[in-house]
C-alpha cells in the first residue's frame, strides 16, 4: 500500500484541491444535465410528451409498436373541430380525444365547477367522461350532443399542458376518451382531424427511435421534438442556463487557483530532493517520469473521492428540487464522471508540472551552497503558457463551445490580473492612512504587502469567491424580480383570444369602462408562409430545427399602426397606416432562423389565396412582457378584409374577477387564457437554479480555504520564527495569538471591503445600464461581506498556525 502514497510534499493538499475540482465538475455536470433534461421536460409539457408524430391521417400501428420496442411510453390523441349547439346556437369547438396515458408529460388540471379549486391529474377523461373548457362551463353536468352521441360533461379543464403550443387559435375545448370517438360518428374518412402519437422516454431511446422512424414517415406525417417551446419560456430558460454555467465556471476557476497555488508550494518543497538527485546523476527525463507518476497517484486518490462527493452532492440538490418539483431527477449517463476525471487530470498536471519542471532546472551546484529556487525566463514562460492552456482547455471542456470558452477565458484573465492589483492598491491606501500608527504600517501592512507571504494570493482567492457569492445573490434577486420591476404594476395576466371582429371594440370598451387595463386589440390572421423570394418554402433547407418548425406551422399574422410597446426597430422603417408601400416587419430571431434580410419577399397563403410583400423592417421583441407579441407584423392593407379574429391582453385583478362571467356571457366565442401560471413556472425555474448555485459556492469557499492553507504552509517557517522570536522576547500566549490574529483579521477586512465594494459597483452598473434601476446602496451587503471574510480567514488561519505556538525559541539558536 505504501507505494500508492504519493511522494510529493503536501500532496494531500494538492489532492484535496483536485478532489474539489473533480467534485465541482461531476456535481455540476450531473446537475446541469439533469436540470437540462428536466427543463426540456418542462418544455415538453407543451407537447405533453417528449416527442410526437403529427399527421392528418390515422397512423399505422407499426409506429407505436416500434416505440414500444424502444421502451417508450405512448399515447394517442385525435383533435378535430366540430360544432355543438348551445341553446340552439352553433358553437365551434376543438374536440380532443385522448387515450389512456395522456398526458405523458405534465399534468392536467380540472375543476368540479368553474369556481371550485383545481386538482392536478395525470390522466385525461375516462371512457364515458367529457371534460369541457371553462369558457363553456355553463354546460357542466348537462348532456352534450357530440355527433350521434350524447355525453354528460363532468369536469371543467383548467389547465391543459399542450394547449400553449397553439395559444392564439383556440375554440373552446372539449376532451373525451378516444374509445368514445367512433360512436360519435364525427370521424369519417376525409374529415379534417389531427392525429398525434405522443412519445416519452429516455433521451437515447427517443433519438434512436426518431432515427428509425423518420424514413418510414409518409408525407404529412411530421416528427415534432422539444425544440419548439414558447419563446418567452425559451428565453428565461436560456438565460438561466447561461447564468448557471457562468457561476459554475467561476467556482471551478477558484478551485483551479487552489490547485495552482498548492502545486507551486508542493513543487518548491521538492527543490532539495531534485537537487540531490541531480548530483547523483539522475537524468531529468527520469525525474519527469517520476513526478508524472507521483501526480498520477495524487489524481488516483482524488478521483474516487471527488467522484463520490460529486455523486453525493446531488442528493441535497435533488432534495432542494423536490420541494418544487416532486419529481425524481432523470438519469444521466457516465459522461459527467468521465469529464470530471479528465478535467481533474488536466488541471492537476497542467498546473503542477511546469512548477516541477522549474524545480528540475535547479542548478546542481546549489546543493552545495544554499538551495533556493530561481526561475529562468523560459520557465516563467512555460509556466504561464501551460497555466493559460490548461485553463482554456478546462473551460472549453466545460462549456463545449469555442467562442463562449474564449470569452470566459478572457474574463478570468482580466479578473486574475485585476483583483490582486486592486487589493494591492487598497493595501497601499491603507498604509498611507496608517502612517502614524507604527504597528499598523510597519508591522502588519508591510507583512501583507511583501510578496513572500503570498497574502495577495490568499486575498485574491477569497475576494473572487466572496464577490461571486455576492453577485450571484444579487443577480438572482434581479432575475426573480425582473418581471415585477420591469413591467408596469398592472402587468397582463389574461389573454382574451378568439374575439370576433365586430366584438373587439365593444369588448375593449367594456373592460376599460370597468377599470380593467388592456392592451391594444390585435387582429389575428392565420396563414402559412409559402414562399421566400419566390422560392417554395418546402424546398428550403434550414439549419435549425426551430427554423424548420417555424416554416411548417400556421403563422399568426397581425398588423399594428404603431410599433407595439417594447418592440424596437433594428433595421428598415416602420410602415404605418398612411404608408403607400406595404411590407412585413419581422422579429429579429425569426429573421435569423430563416435567414431573412430587408427587401426579401415573403409570400403567405390563406385559403388558397396568396399575397406577397417585401420585408420592410426587422424588430426586436421583449417576449417576456406577456403582451401580445408577433413574429411577423404586416402592413394594414395586406390583412384588411381577410378572415380574422382579435386578441388582447388584460390585467384582471381579484376585484375584477366578477366581470368574467358577464363578459363570457356577452361574448360567448371569446376564450380567456390565464397566463399567471406560466410566469409562476418561469420563476420556479430560476429559484431552483439559484438554490443549486449557493450549494456550489460552498465548494468555492473550500477552495479558498485550501488557498489559505497553502499560503500559510509556504510562509510557515517564517511565521514560526516570528512566533519563536516573540516568545524569546517574553511574549505570552495571548500576545502571540494577537500578533497572528491581527494579520488574519486585517486580511479579512480587506477581502470583505473589496468584495462588497465591487459587488456594489457591478450591481449598480448592471442595474443602471441594463435595467434602468436606481441602485440602492446596501449596508447589509457590506456587513455580511466583511463579517464572513474576517470570520473565515481568521478562523482557518488561526486554526492552522495554532500548532506553531508550542515551538521552542531554541529554534532561533539552531538553523
Amino acid at each position: 500500500m505504501n507505494f500508492l502514497v504519493p511522494r510529493i510534499k503536501a500532496w494531500w493538499l494538492l489532492c484535496l484541491a483536485s478532489m474539489i475540482t473533480i467534485t465541482i465538475v461531476a456535481a455540476s455536470q450531473l446537475f446541469t444535465q439533469r436540470i437540462s433534461i428536466l427543463l426540456d421536460r418542462q418544455a415538453a409539457e407543451l407537447l405533453a410528451a417528449d416527442m410526437l408524430i403529427d399527421s392528418n391521417d390515422p397512423m399505422p400501428a407499426s409506429y407505436r409498436e416500434l416505440a414500444q420496442r424502444y421502451g417508450l411510453q405512448t399515447a394517442y390523441t385525435i383533435g378535430l373541430r366540430t360544432a355543438i349547439f348551445i341553446q340552439d346556437e352553433p358553437q365551434l369547438i376543438e374536440l380532443k380525444a385522448v387515450s389512456a396515458g395522456y398526458p405523458l408529460r405534465g399534468t392536467l388540471e380540472r375543476k368540479a365547477g368553474l369556481f371550485e379549486p383545481a386538482q392536478k391529474v395525470t390522466q385525461g377523461p375516462l371512457s364515458g367522461e367529457v371534460w369541457i373548457d371553462s369558457k363553456i362551463a355553463a354546460l357542466l353536468n348537462q348532456p352534450i350532443e357530440l355527433g350521434m352521441q350524447s355525453l354528460a360533461a363532468n369536469w371543467v379543464i383548467s389547465y391543459e399542458p399542450d394547449r400553449g403550443g397553439s395559444l392564439f387559435n383556440l375554440a373552446p375545448r372539449i376532451m373525451m376518451h378516444i374509445d368514445d370517438l367512433p360512436a360519435t360518428g364525427l370521424l369519417v374518412p376525409g374529415s379534417r382531424a389531427r392525429y398525434n402519437l405522443l412519445l416519452a422516454g429516455d433521451a437515447a431511446a427517443l433519438s434512436r427511435f426518431a432515427e428509425d422512424v423518420k424514413p418510414r414517415l409518409s408525407e404529412g406525417e411530421k416528427l415534432q421534438t422539444l425544440d419548439n417551446a414558447r419563446p418567452e419560456m425559451r428565453n428565461a430558460l436560456e438565460r438561466t442556463r447561461l447564468f448557471f454555467a457562468l457561476s459554475i465556471v467561476l467556482t471551478l476557476v477558484i478551485a483551479m487557483i487552489a490547485i495552482a497555488i498548492t502545486a507551486k508550494y508542493s513543487a518548491s518543497q521538492e527543490a532539495v530532493k531534485v537537487a540531490v538527485m541531480r548530483t547523483f546523476g539522475i537524468s531529468s527525463r527520469r525525474l519527469i517520469r517520476y513526478y508524472l507518476l507521483e501526480l498520477l497517484k495524487v489524481w488516483l486518490w482524488a478521483l474516487p473521492l471527488g467522484l463520490l462527493a460529486g455523486y453525493l452532492a446531488q442528493f441535497p440538490l435533488q432534495w432542494a428540487l423536490g420541494l418544487w418539483f416532486g419529481a425524481r431527477l432523470p438519469e444521466t449517463g457516465l459522461m459527467p464522471y468521465l469529464l470530471a476525471a479528465l478535467i481533474g487530470f488536466i488541471s492537476l498536471t497542467g498546473f503542477s508540472l511546469p512548477h516541477l519542471l522549474n524545480v528540475l532546472d535547479t542548478p546542481p551546484m546549489q546543493v552545495l551552497r544554499q538551495i533556493r529556487q530561481s526561475s529562468t525566463p523560459r520557465n516563467v514562460m512555460l509556466l504561464v503558457l501551460s497555466s493559460l492552456l490548461t485553463l482554456f482547455l478546462v473551460l472549453l471542456l466545460i462549456v463545449n463551445q469555442f467562442q463562449l470558452a474564449l470569452m470566459l477565458f478572457a474574463l478570468v484573465i482580466v479578473l486574475a490580473g485585476f483583483i490582486p492589483l486592486v487589493l494591492k492598491l487598497i493595501l497601499q491606501l491603507f498604509s498611507r492612512f496608517g502612517r502614524n500608527r507604527f504597528w499598523l504600517n510597519n508591522y502588519l501592512l508591510s507583512r501583507l504587502l511583501s510578496g513572500q507571504r503570498n497574502a495577495l494570493f490568499v486575498m485574491s482567492g477569497f475576494s473572487l469567491t466572496l464577490l461571486s457569492v455576492l453577485l450571484i445573490s444579487q443577480v438572482k434577486d434581479q432575475l426573480l424580480e425582473d418581471w415585477e420591476t420591469q413591467l408596469p404594476q398592472d402587468k397582463p395576466n389574461y389573454f382574451l383570444v378568439n374575439i370576433p371582429t365586430a366584438e373587439a371594440q365593444p369588448l375593449s370598451r367594456f373592460l376599460q369602462d370597468n377599470g380593467v387595463s388592456t392592451s391594444q386589440a390585435y387582429a389575428l390572421v392565420r396563414t402559412r408562409l409559402s414562399a421566400i423570394n419566390q422560392q417554395d418554402v418546402k424546398t428550403l433547407t434550414l439549419k435549425t430545427e426551430r427554423g424548420r418548425h417555424l416554416l411548417n406551422h400556421v403563422f399568426n399574422l397581425s398588423f399594428a399602426d404603431q410599433l407595439p410597446p417594447d418592440n424596437q426597430l433594428l433595421q428598415g422603417e416602420w410602415l404605418d397606416q398612411h404608408s403607400v408601400r406595404s411590407g412585413f416587419s419581422v422579429e429579429q430571431g425569426m429573421a435569423e432562423e430563416l435567414g431573412l434580410k430587408l427587401g426579401d419577399e415573403l409570400q403567405f397563403t390563406l385559403q388558397g389565396e396568396t399575397f406577397a410583400a417585401p420585408v420592410s423592417s426587422i424588430r426586436s421583441v421583449v417576449w417576456e412582457n406577456f403582451q401580445p407579441n408577433f413574429f411577423i407584423l404586416a402592413s394594414r392593407q395586406l390583412l384588411e378584409g381577410r378572415p380574422q379574429t382579435w386578441l388582447m391582453s388584460a390585467f384582471i385583478d381579484d376585484s375584477h374577477k366578477a366581470l368574467l362571467k358577464p363578459l363570457l356571457q356577452q361574448h360567448p366565442s371569446v376564450t380567456l387564457l390565464d397566463i399567471s401560471e406560466l410566469m409562476q413556472r418561469i420563476k420556479g425555474i430560476i429559484q431552483r437554479a439559484s438554490v443549486a448555485l449557493e450549494f456550489f459556492f460552498g465548494f468555492a469557499t473550500l477552495s479558498a480555504i485550501i488557498v489559505l492553507i497553502s499560503a500559510l504552509n509556504t510562509t510557515n517557517p517564517m511565521r514560526e520564527t516570528e512566533i519563536a522570536l516573540l516568545q524569546a522576547l517574553g511574549a505570552n500566549r495571548r500576545q502571540k495569538l494577537q500578533s497572528q490574529l491581527a494579520e488574519f483579521a486585517l486580511m479579512g477586512v480587506l477581502v470583505g471591503v473589496f468584495a462588497a465594494l465591487f459587488a456594489n459597483l457591478i450591481g449598480w452598473f448592471v442595474g443602471y445600464r441594463f435595467f434602468d434601476l436606481v441602485y440602492s446602496f446596501s449596508v447589509q451587503l457590506w456587513v455580511y461581506s466583511v463579517f464572513t471574510s474576517v470570520v473565515l480567514i481568521t478562523a482557518f488561519g488561526t486554526l492552522f498556525v495554532y500548532r506553531s505556538f508550542s515551538i521552542s525559541p531554541m529554534r532561533l539558536l539552531r538553523s
Binding site: R7, K9, V272, K273, A275, V276, M277, R278, T279, F280, G281, I282, S283, S284, R286, L287, Y290, P363, P364, M365, V367, L368, R369, I371
Partner: protein, 225 residues
C-alpha cells in the same frame, strides 16, 4: 587509466558586483581510483567550488576536468549528469534529506530513480551497515544530526559509487559525533574501495586521508602524500 579524476589548468571566475572574481586559479590535480583525498583550507578558499567542478555540477571557465574517463568541458548539464549516474555519491554538510520520508525511503530514492531492482533490500542492507537497522521506518526529521548524516551516507553508498564526494560532512555536528561520522566514511571507503573526496575546513581531519591538499585563495598551497 588509474586516475578517476584528472584536473588540469582549472580556472573559475564569476561575475560579482565588484567586477570579475577569480575563485579558482590554475588548479592541477589527479585523484587515483580508491584514493582518499582530503581537501582542506579556510572558509572561502574555494574548496566547494573545486569539488563542484570535479563532480561536473558546474562548468569551469577554462581548463579541463576528466571525470571517470570523460572530459567535462564539452558536455552539457544533462550529459555530465549521465556520467555521474550510479557512479557518484554525495554527502553534504546540511544532510539534504527528504523530510517527511523515512530513512529507508530516503536511501531508496536514488536507487529507484536510477532504475535499480530490489531497491528496498539494498537500502535496508546499507542502512544496517551504518548502524541504523532499527530506525528504518523513522521519519528522518525525527533523527539526531548524526543519525541523519548516517542516512545521507547510506544514501550515497547504496548506489555503490566509484567516487564519493563529501562537503564538510561534519560541519553541522558536534566533535564527538563528527568523529564517528568521519570514522564511518573512512571505514566504508576501506571496505568498498570507493574513491573518497572529502572537503573540510578542519585541519585535523586532513590527516585521515591518503593524500591532503591545502587550499588558500583559490589556489593549492601544498599537497601532502
Amino acid at each position: 587509466m588509474d586516475d578517476c579524476i584528472v584536473v588540469s589548468n582549472l580556472t573559475k571566475t564569476v561575475q560579482a558586483p565588484e567586477g570579475r572574481l577569480t575563485i579558482l586559479q590554475d588548479i592541477n590535480l589527479k585523484v587515483k581510483s580508491g584514493e582518499a583525498l582530503v581537501i582542506s583550507g579556510e572558509s572561502g578558499s574555494g574548496k566547494t567550488t573545486l569539488m563542484g567542478l570535479m563532480a561536473g555540477l558546474d562548468k569551469a571557465t577554462s581548463g579541463e576536468v576528466i571525470l571517470l574517463g570523460e572530459t567535462l568541458s564539452d558536455k552539457n548539464e544533462e550529459q555530465r549528469s549521465a556520467i555521474r549516474q550510479g557512479r557518484v555519491g554525495f554527502v553534504f554538510q546540511s544532510f539534504h534529506l527528504v523530510s517527511g520520508a523515512s530513512a529507508l525511503q530516503n536511501v531508496m530514492l536514488p536507487l529507484e530513480l536510477s532504475g535499480r531492482t530490489q531497491a528496498a533490500q539494498k537500502a535496508e542492507q546499507v542502512l544496517r551497515s551504518v548502524g541504523l537497522g532499527s530506525r528504518l521506518h523513522t521519519a528522518v526529521e525525527l533523527l539526531s544530526g548524526g543519525e541523519q548524516q548516517r542516512v545521507a551516507i547510506a544514501r550515497a553508498y547504496a548506489v555503490e559509487p566509484a567516487i564519493l564526494f563529501a562537503d564538510e560532512p561534519t560541519g553541522n555536528l558536534d566533535t564527538r559525533t563528527g568523529q564517528q561520522i568521519t570514522d564511518l566514511l573512512f571505514g566504508l571507503r576501506d571496505q568498498s574501495g570507493t574513491s573518497l573526496i572529502l572537503v573540510t575546513h578542519e585541519d585535523r581531519l586532513a590527516e585521515r586521508g591518503d593524500r591532503q591538499i591545502k587550499m588558500s585563495q583559490g589556489q593549492i598551497l601544498d599537497s601532502v602524500g
